[in-house]
Amino acid sequence: MGNIVEQIQGVPLNHYIIFCSIIFAIGVTGVLIRRNVIIIMMSIELMLNSVNLLLAAFSAYRGDPSGQVFVFFVMALAAAEVAVGLAIIIMVYRNTKSLDIESLSKLRW
């Protein structure tokens, strides 16, 4: 444990923050501009994991394991979300024969 912490601390904290922000921004951009539903799911995953990384980094720097515990929760939630999300995507595909997000435009007033 101590070893890993030292390794993590081998990289300055600012770098983690910048790196995670970039990955998060990529994830957001992916969600916003891509139309394939699976890519959008992956982008969401990217956002979640950037946050995970940031949590782990802060946890190590502050010597507080609760950040890592929180990461586990996020991962569990992400797994569940992916399971449900993929199921929805399969159903959408069966119904519309398409993975284009625009094919779901029935969700309107």
């Binding site: 916003l32 625009e102 435009s105």
Partner: protein, 639 residues
């Protein structure tokens, strides 16, 4: 017997429930038997109670039966029980209510037999007897108030009995509203009594009142408020205009409620509270003046009315004014005596008028009558007795009671006597005018009406005969000493006035010769008026002209009822209506409705605008979400 006094109100109530529930199911005969029978039972109980009280009085014992039924409610120091008190005053009132009530029930059986609402009518009448007996039997002001409100309700229901005629329905509303103004006075008076004496029980209130000094300001307020209540219920200025309109109800109702019993509730209440009123000479003076003014004005209006029931209605108002005059000058016994005799002869006159109306196929205008004495002999004779009685010609009932009042008025202030005497002259004139126009001369109705003329059946004539006998001999229960009597009624009622006497009440101190002169004057006046009326309406056949041929001066003033209704409309009703319209238009519609509807419209409108955002494009949703997150971030960053 003493244990059973609660049956007196209960039995008519049972009758009300049975007749009310079975009004469309029960056969008419059964409805009539239940309606009359319940009142008969109450009457028998009342008679036996009266005999008990009478025996106790004669033996010099305490003539009082009080019966505590149950504690109604207790809040803090206030404890109100439902309890009854029978003393000489209430036992006499009970006799009148159930006795005259019984006769009128019997009369109604025939009078209303053709009406669709027969069962409903008897149910209402029984309910009225229930409330009226509660009113007089209660041993505290709250129980009296229950009855007070209840009889007002019955009066409303019965005036508006033929509610399909909208003018009848509005007459009922008028009566109800005007009574309500008076009731408010009663209610506030009760609050004052409670805060002053800490109880509503007569005994405690009067016991504590005896220790107060004359002219106490709280008592002044209480008595003034009670008097306001009495002006509403007993149709005095300024609240008297409902009573003539109340003639919209069936005639037996006019006889029972608007002549014999309910309208005398105000006098009963004042007599009951006599000690409070004795403590407040200012109220007494106001009462005398209001009573006198009412008596004169109503008699003046009655002089020219052509509707037979309207004449009697104004006559009732006038006689009630007489009673208040009597109360005001301290003649409590005289006032109550007049209540009793008036109940006899006015019920008789109303029932007689009902008999005439019945025979005339519902015609009430005296200009279409005339010469009815041949076709309606029993009605004629009994009405004649009633007319003589109300005019104050001896030895019939009205003479004794009216002269007692006039003697007290004379002693109090000769001006009061003069106005009272003038009223008595008016009374004699309009009553004989009614009699002559109806029963003398030629028949003036249509040929069809003439062929229908008939004497009423026995159910209607029997009450007339009984009431005529009572009107004839009723006066002998209180013959003044000047005429060799013993003031029996005054002695019987003496316990009621013990408190007032201790403070110093009025006793008649006139010499016998003065009394003889007063009696002679009023009797002579009445006879002269009868002759004048005979001259005008029989010898000269001076039948009142049709409505459209107006006569000027005093006649028009009297015929149009002194324009009092118009005055009230202009001063009170119309401004209130206008105020209501303004409130309706601007406060209710514009303000309250505007606010509520505006709020609804705002949300509907904004929903319509905002729903456009929900375009269905998932990409757009996500975009909005991101913008939201960014916005929250920025907000969190800066604040």
């Amino acid at each position: 017997m003493k244990e059973l006094i609660w049956l007196i109100p209960l039995i008519p109530f049972v009758g009300f429930v049975i007749n009310g529930l079975g009004r469309n199911v029960l056969p008419k005969a059964l409805v009539g038997i239940i309606g009359c029978g319940t009142v008969l039972l109450s009457f028998l109980l009342s008679v036996s109670l009266y005999l008990d009280i009478k025996a106790a009085r004669d033996a010099g014992e305490v003539a009082e039966i009080s019966r505590h039924l149950f504690d109604w409610f207790a809040v803090g120091n206030l404890k109100v029980s439902l309890s009854f008190l029978i003393d000489p005053l209430s036992s006499l009132m009970l006799l009148i209510i159930t006795g005259v009530g019984l006769l009128i029930h019997l009369y109604s059986y025939s009078y209303m037999s053709g009406d669709n609402g027969f069962g409903k009518f008897f149910a209402y009448l029984n309910l009225f007897i229930f409330f009226m007996t509660i009113l007089v039997m209660g041993s505290n002001y709250l129980v009296m108030f229950i009855g007070w409100e209840g009889v007002g309700l019955c009066s409303y229901l019965l005036i508006g009995f033929w509610f399909k005629n909208s003018s009848y329905a509005s007459a009922a509303k008028k009566a109800f509203v005007m009574n309500r103004i008076g009731d408010l006075g009663f209610l506030i008076a009760m609050f004052f009594i409670l805060s002053t004496f800490g109880s509503l029980e007569y005994k405690e209130v009067f016991g504590q009142a005896a220790t107060l000094s004359v002219g106490d300001s709280t008592v002044l307020i209480i008595t003034l408020l009670l008097f306001v209540a009495a002006t509403g219920k007993s149709a005095q200025i300024p609240l008297f205009t409902w009573l003539p309109d109340a003639m919209a109800g069936p005639t037996p109702v006019s006889a029972l409620i608007h002549a014999a019993t309910m309208v005398t509730a105000g006098i009963y209440m004042v007599v009951r509270s006599n000690i409070l009123f004795t403590l407040s000479p200012v109220t007494m003076e106001i009462m005398a003046i209001v009573g006198l003014a009412t008596a004169l004005i109503a008699a003046f209006i009655a002089l020219t009315q052509n509707d037979i029931k309207k004449v009697l209605a104004y006559s009732t108002v006038s006689q009630l004014g007489y009673m208040f005059l009597a109360l005001g000058v301290g003649a409590f016994t005289g006032a109550f005596f007049h209540v009793l005799t008036h109940a006899f002869f006015k019920a008789l006159l109303f029932l007689g008028a009902g008999s005439v109306i019945h025979a005339m196929s519902n015609e009430q205008d005296m200009r279409s009558m005339g010469g009815l004495r041949k076709s309606l002999p029993v009605t004629f004779v009994t009405m004649l007795i009633g007319t003589i009685a109300i005019s104050g010609i001896p030895p019939l009932a009205g003479f004794f009671s009216k002269d007692e009042i006039l003697a007290y008025a004379f002693q109090h202030n000769i001006l009061y006597w003069a106005v009272g005497f003038l009223t008595a002259l008016f009374t004699a004139f309009y009553m004989f005018r009614l009699l002559y126009l109806t029963f003398f001369g030629e028949f003036r109705g249509t040929a069809e009406q003439k062929s229908h003329l008939h004497e009423s059946p026995w159910q209607m004539t029997l009450p007339l005969i009984v009431l005529a006998i009572l009107s004839a001999i009723g006066g002998f229960m209180n013959v003044p000493e000047a005429l060799g009597g013993h003031h029996n009624l005054a002695h019987f009622l003496a316990p009621i006035f013990e408190g007032s006497n201790a403070i110093g009440s009025t006793t008649l101190t006139l010499s016998h010769s003065t009394e003889y002169i007063l009696m002679g004057a009023s009797v002579l006046g009445a006879i002269v008026m009868a002759i004048v009326a005979y001259n005008t309406y029989v010898s000269k056949k001076n039948i009142p002209v049709a409505d459209d041929k107006a006569e000027g001066g005093l006649h028009a003033l009297s015929y149009n009822k002194l324009y009092i209704d118009e005055l009230y409309d202009a001063v009170i009703v119309n401004p209130l209506k206008k105020l209501s319209t303004v409130l309706y238009k601007y406060v209710d519609r514009l303000g309250i409705d505007g606010f509520v509807n505006g709020l609804g419209e705002f949300f509907v409108g904004s929903g319509k605008g905002i729903r456009l955002l929900q375009s269905g494009h998932v990409g757009f949703y996500i975009f909005m979400m991101v913008i939201g997150v960014v916005a929250i971030l920025i907000y969190g960053f800066f604040y």
